[in-house]
């Protein structure tokens, strides 16, 4: 059974802190994605990666960075957390390219920035 896991279900951080969200997939997928989900806005793509050490900006990359040192792990980094980054963060992976193949999602991390 395919599995995407995220390091935390709930996270509370203070403004200005550096925040790491971790995502691991066990399906040997090439492609991994980070989305944020906000009420009334749906899912918005932050960054994606199509190979180890490769990354591409999505629709809303400002204030975020990513790291993919190993194929199975994709990290989202908030360099200096701000209150407007309070959101649900979803990680996903796919074998094929975005829009061309099924994406498998993790359970999400609900981040609150105080």
């Amino acid at each position: 059974d395919v599995k995407v896991t995220q390091s935390s279900r709930y996270l509370v951080k203070r403004t200005g802190e550096k925040v790491f969200l971790e995502c691991v997939q066990d399906m040997d997928h090439e492609n991994m994605f980070w989305y944020r989900q906000d009420p009334g806005l749906g899912l918005r793509l932050i960054y994606f990666s199509y190979d180890v050490k490769m990354k591409e900006k999505g629709d809303i990359p400002e204030g975020y960075s990513v790291s993919r040192e190993k194929k199975e792990r994709f990290s989202l980094i908030l360099e200096s957390a701000s209150t407007n980054q309070t959101s649900m963060y979803l990680c996903a992976s796919s074998l094929g390219l975005a829009g061309l193949d099924t994406q498998y999602f993790g359970p999400g991390t609900r981040l609150t920035v105080l």
């Binding site: 009334g40 829009g99 999602f105 993790g106």
Partner: protein
């Protein structure tokens, strides 16, 4: 770039009644089409997808969707809903010509399904 519209933010249906969730897309050719479901506190799970061929697609949990090119629609249906179907439903459009770029997949804003006993 493609776009997706889910006109209904909330829908309330009685248990046992039929369901139709609407999805309209904007794209120049035939896109790849997906329906995902998000149960409370969970990530998204694929219900079904359409790439080509038969325009009526069967998915998991008794759902089906029909691609109508003339109406640019991909509506999701279920003949009889169960209380466990209460969730958020997302339509998504993939661009076969995007090469997998950042705009390769676009999600709608979602429809929240409420089931009345």
């Amino acid at each position: 770039a493609q776009s997706v519209t889910q006109p209904d933010i909330h829908i309330t249906v009685s248990e046992g009644a039929s369901l139709e969730l609407r999805c309209n897309y904007s794209y120049g050719a035939t896109p790849y089409l997906f329906w995902y479901v998000q149960s409370p506190g969970q990530g998204l799970q694929l219900l079904l997808k359409y790439f080509s061929g038969d325009t009526l697609v069967q998915g998991i949990k008794g759902f089906e969707a029909e691609f109508k090119r003339s109406q640019s629609s991909f509506n999701l249906r279920k003949p009889s809903v169960h209380w466990s179907d209460a969730a958020e439903y997302f339509c998504a459009v993939g661009d076969p010509d995007s090469g997998g770029g950042a705009d390769g997949l676009t999600f709608g804003k979602g429809t929240h399904l409420i089931i009345q006993p």
